[in-house]
């Protein structure tokens, strides 16, 4: 609970590794002061990673170690001690939970009230994530462990406040983004970090990192739809009023897209229809990830009449996110662009 309250924690400025992986490759980026200074991409033997889960830890550590050594041989003066993993797809469940608490206007808000509200958020967030897991995988007895909880908004009587402690009002509203993984998944990543003789800095949902980055560029109240196309899956996020409202994962990624573009498009349409509780989708659709070089991909995105079945406000406009848009060097493209987003994860720790 206490980390939730550490809004004003000071951040150390040092080098750290960020890594993303899929069934065919690893991307490792070395960050310094949140900015990428070197990267390495390494192919993986088939069967080492399946559906975003590391199934052959020994082999994975070997490959990742090769990446680490390649980077450090170029930058021997750096001595990173932490590694952060970016995860997506079904391996990570995220939700935004809002709690509203009526207050006695005569009393000042104390730590006890905040602790109570956060406890409710924690429980409701977990319940929501477990329900989402059940609806997606059919596993009613899943166990989940928190990997991230970030307070996204605190309002007192509908006014944004940064620290409600000691203030008074009638209605306190707190919004928190929570993300979870199954404990075995985190254990595996911890083992991998240990295998590299590093500390596990954290495990972060890539869709949330993208949201955070775009929020800093597009403003605090932006509306958008994000598509992050990974090798094995596609993450779809709905941002409304500057909040990451919903996420869904289409279990088809670049591999499927390259085999049968129509099939992938149909899958995407079906996934949009799966968003319950979303009345309208923002027509600004930001697309990033791999497989975007195909010109027919963009043609089909433009030609398809999405708004016939999906409640887009108007005909969607698809924009490819390039490195410049997310403050990365130009060579950061495809999967690597998504890996580059891990630069902001230290701000979230």
């Amino acid at each position: 609970m206490l980390p939730l309250l550490n809004f004003f924690k000071k951040h150390k400025s040092d080098a750290f590794f960020g890594v993303t992986f899929n069934s065919s490759s690893i991307n490792l980026v070395l960050f310094k002061d949140g900015y990428p200074i070197h990267y390495v991409q390494e192919n993986l033997t088939s069967g080492v990673v399946l559906d975003g889960r590391v199934v052959d830890k020994e082999h994975f550590v070997q490959s990742l170690n090769v990446c680490v050594e390649r980077i450090l041989s170029q930058l021997p003066e750096e001595n990173p001690k932490e590694i952060f993993f970016g995860v997506g797809g079904n391996n990570c469940v995220g939700n935004t939970t809002t709690a509203r608490q009526k207050l006695d206007p005569q009393e000042k808000i104390g730590k006890n009230i905040l602790v109570g509200v956060y406890k409710e958020i924690e429980q409701n967030g977990l319940d929501g994530a477990l329900e989402e897991t059940y609806q997606t995988t059919g596993n009613r007895d899943a166990q989940l462990e928190t990997i991230l909880n970030e307070t996204t908004s605190i309002k007192l009587d509908n006014q944004v406040v940064y620290n409600p402690l000691g203030q008074s009002g009638e209605l306190l509203e707190i919004q928190v983004f929570n993300a979870y993984c199954v404990p075995t998944y985190i254990d595996a990543l911890e083992d991998i970090a240990r295998g590299l003789k590093m500390g596990l800095g954290g495990v972060f949902p890539l869709s949330y990192l993208l949201f955070k980055k775009l929020k800093s560029k597009l403003g605090a109240n932006y509306d958008a739809t994000h598509l992050s196309i990974h090798s094995d899956f596609t993450d779809i996020s709905v941002v409304f009023g500057g909040n990451l409202a919903k996420n869904k994962t289409l279990p088809l990624g670049t591999t499927s897209l390259e085999k049968d573009l129509d099939f992938w498009m149909d899958g995407l349409e079906l996934t949009f229809l799966e968003f319950s509780g979303v009345k309208t989708f923002a027509n600004n659709v930001y697309v990033c990830g791999s497989g975007l070089e195909r010109t027919d991909f963009w043609e089909m995105l433009e030609w398809r009449e999405w708004e016939e079945k999906i409640p887009f406000k108007t005909k969607p406009i698809f924009t490819k996110l390039d490195a410049g848009f997310v403050d990365l060097p130009q060579e950061y493209k495809g999967d690597l662009l998504i890996s580059g987003l891990l630069g902001i994860c230290k701000e979230l720790v």
Binding site: T45, S46, G47, V48, L50, D51, V55, D56, N90, N95, T96, T97, T98, A99, R100, Q101, K102, L103, D104, G116, V117, E120, I121, N124, G125, D127, G128, E131, Y134, Q135, T136, T137, G138, N139, R140, A245, K246, K248, T249, L250, P251, L252, S256, K259, D260, F263, D266, G267, L270, T271, L273, E274, S276, G277, K279, K309, P311
Partner: protein, 504 residues
């Protein structure tokens, strides 16, 4: 309705392709437990939607526990009310979580008021002290516990059993059958080799000869007539390039003046050796040298030759054999990357199911190097190492000798194939294996009897009693607390914790 059994790694796209190819419009898809399709309900929804597009109706069946839940969810959604064309579902449980928390009240525990009468303190204090001592004794009695640890050395038993592994078979301990997984892969191999054939190529020498006719009548030398230049060991043959008439020789005072004519000739074969100098004598085929002879009228030029490498039939046959030999020598290479993590390939279960050899050259190609490639499809049988270890672990529990109990098993198993015989098989779908495994057993200890022996004894006596147990290596006995009245083993059974430990 046609029933199709999918493989564990069949993707949604592959499943849709299978459905599309089926003639029946109703299809039942049997999804194996652990299938990748069951990782996300959207896989099933995508299959349903795509099948509907091609006019097919799909039903799912599975043994997977979570998969069954997914199928139930799908069936439940079919019954949901669809409003208009929007398809937006109205399930309040899945709306964004927006909490309106009730204002919280914390109950306050009220403590009873204690009224102290200081006049009675003189009596109260000793009573309280006695009460505290009694309560303390009672508390400590309840805490009085003995921890007994009996150490044994495990005895190793080695067993060897025959196990049948088969793709599509279900693990059955009684029948000694283990579920296997058929895997497939391909080998692509290219080879290049040096051509062994040698061919000469070059130009034929050309020149002019003067024909000398000693016969007293004209001779017509036809085009293509062979002229031969002879050295010590070799013959060089040339042919005339046109027809020529050599005038008759003239006999004057017993001296015959030969009739002469010039004609162009060309060597029959290539080579610089045919570049003969001027004035070399040649014989004309069909004529005696006393009748018609020839002499090179100039230095012959243009003859040249060099050796070039050519591909021979033997080369191609050897390359094809080498490519096939490579595939047959190590078909397991094709499956190395296909074996799932935690699985092992059954040794020599691999079979080459098809092979296609492509030779890049043909006989006679003038190439120093030639090449070809082979693509072969290979199938093999794999099994889960963990499942086999667990299987043997369970099996070993059934063969523990009387008076002992199972302790643990060694996960390092020795797996030998039995090959193809009258009674055993070895193929990509089924294999008989001989699995040798070790497990550890310990003497069966009746904890009740141990307790009866030591209850109420001092530590020293209890240890002496424990040391009498057969096969025991050492004992440990700890009392908590261990002072005053608590220096003996408790007589209450639940207060004595007897642990059996194995020192390996």
């Amino acid at each position: 309705m046609q029933r199709i059994s999918l493989e564990i790694y069949t993707s949604a796209l592959e499943a849709v392709n299978i459905i599309t190819d089926i003639v029946d419009h109703k299809v039942e898809l049997s999804i194996p437990a652990g299938s990748v399709l069951l990782d996300n309900i959207l896989n099933l929804k995508i299959i349903l939607a795509q099948a509907k597009k091609v006019g097919k109706e799909v039903d799912f069946v599975t043994d997977d526990e979570f998969g069954k839940n997914l199928i139930d969810i799908l069936r439940g959604e079919k019954d949901e009310v669809v409003v208009g064309e929007s398809m937006v579902k109205s399930n309040p449980a899945r709306l964004p979580i927006a909490l309106k928390l009730p204002s919280m009240r914390f109950p306050v525990t009220r403590l009873p008021k204690i009224a102290l009468d200081f006049r009675k303190l003189g009596l109260v204090i000793p009573v309280a002290i006695v009460l505290m001592v009694v309560l303390g004794f009672l508390f400590l009695s309840r805490q009085h516990k003995a921890e007994v640890t009996l150490y044994f050395s495990p005895q190793v038993l080695t067993k060897s059993v025959g196990v049948k592994v088969g793709d599509g078979l279900k693990t059955d301990l009684d029948k000694k059958v283990l579920a296997g997984l058929k895997i497939a892969g391909s080998i692509d191999r290219s080879l290049t080799s040096a051509s062994t054939g040698i061919e000469l190529e070059g130009e034929k020498a050309k020149g002019k000869v003067t024909l000398y006719n000693s016969i007293l009548e004209a001779v017509i030398v036809k085009k293509g007539t062979q002229l031969t230049y002879k050295t010590k060991d070799l013959l060089y043959v040339y042919t005339t390039q046109e027809e020529v008439t050599v005038p008759a020789g003239v006999n004057t005072l017993a001296i015959i003046t030969k009739g002469t004519a010039e004609v162009s000739v060309m060597a029959e074969a290539i080579g610089s050796a045919y570049n003969i100098k001027k004035d070399k004598e040649l014989s004309v085929k069909g004529y005696k040298s006393s009748e018609l002879t020839a002499s090179s009228a100039e230095d012959f030029k243009g003859g040249s030759s060099k050796e070039v490498k050519v591909v021979t039939q033997a080369d191609l046959t050897k390359l094809e054999q080498d490519l096939i030999a490579y595939v047959l020598k190590s078909p397991a290479n094709a499956l190395k990357t296909r074996v799932l993590a935690g699985y092992a390939l059954v040794d020599k279960s691999e079979r080459v199911t098809s092979k296609n050899v492509v030779l890049n050259n043909k006989v006679g190609d003038k190439k120093d190097q030639f090449g070809g490639s082979i693509t072969a499809q290979v199938e093999g049988l794999s099994y889960s190492r963990n499942e086999l270890a667990d299987f043997m672990g369970k099996l070993s529990q059934n063969v523990v000798p009387q008076g002992f109990e199972f302790h643990s098993y060694n996960k390092d198993l020795q797996v030998d194939i039995l090959g193809n015989t009258e009674k055993t098989v070895l193929s990509p779908t089924e294999a008989d294996l001989q699995v040798t495994f070790k497990f550890f057993i310990t003497p069966k200890i009746n904890k009740q009897k141990v307790f009866d022996k030591i209850a109420g004894l001092s530590v020293e006596d209890a240890v002496n009693e424990l040391d009498k147990i057969s096969d025991i290596t050492r004992t440990e006995l700890n009392l908590k607390p261990n002072f005053l009245f608590f220096k003996k083993v408790p007589t209450k059974e639940s207060a004595v914790d007897i642990q059996i430990k194995i020192e390996e």
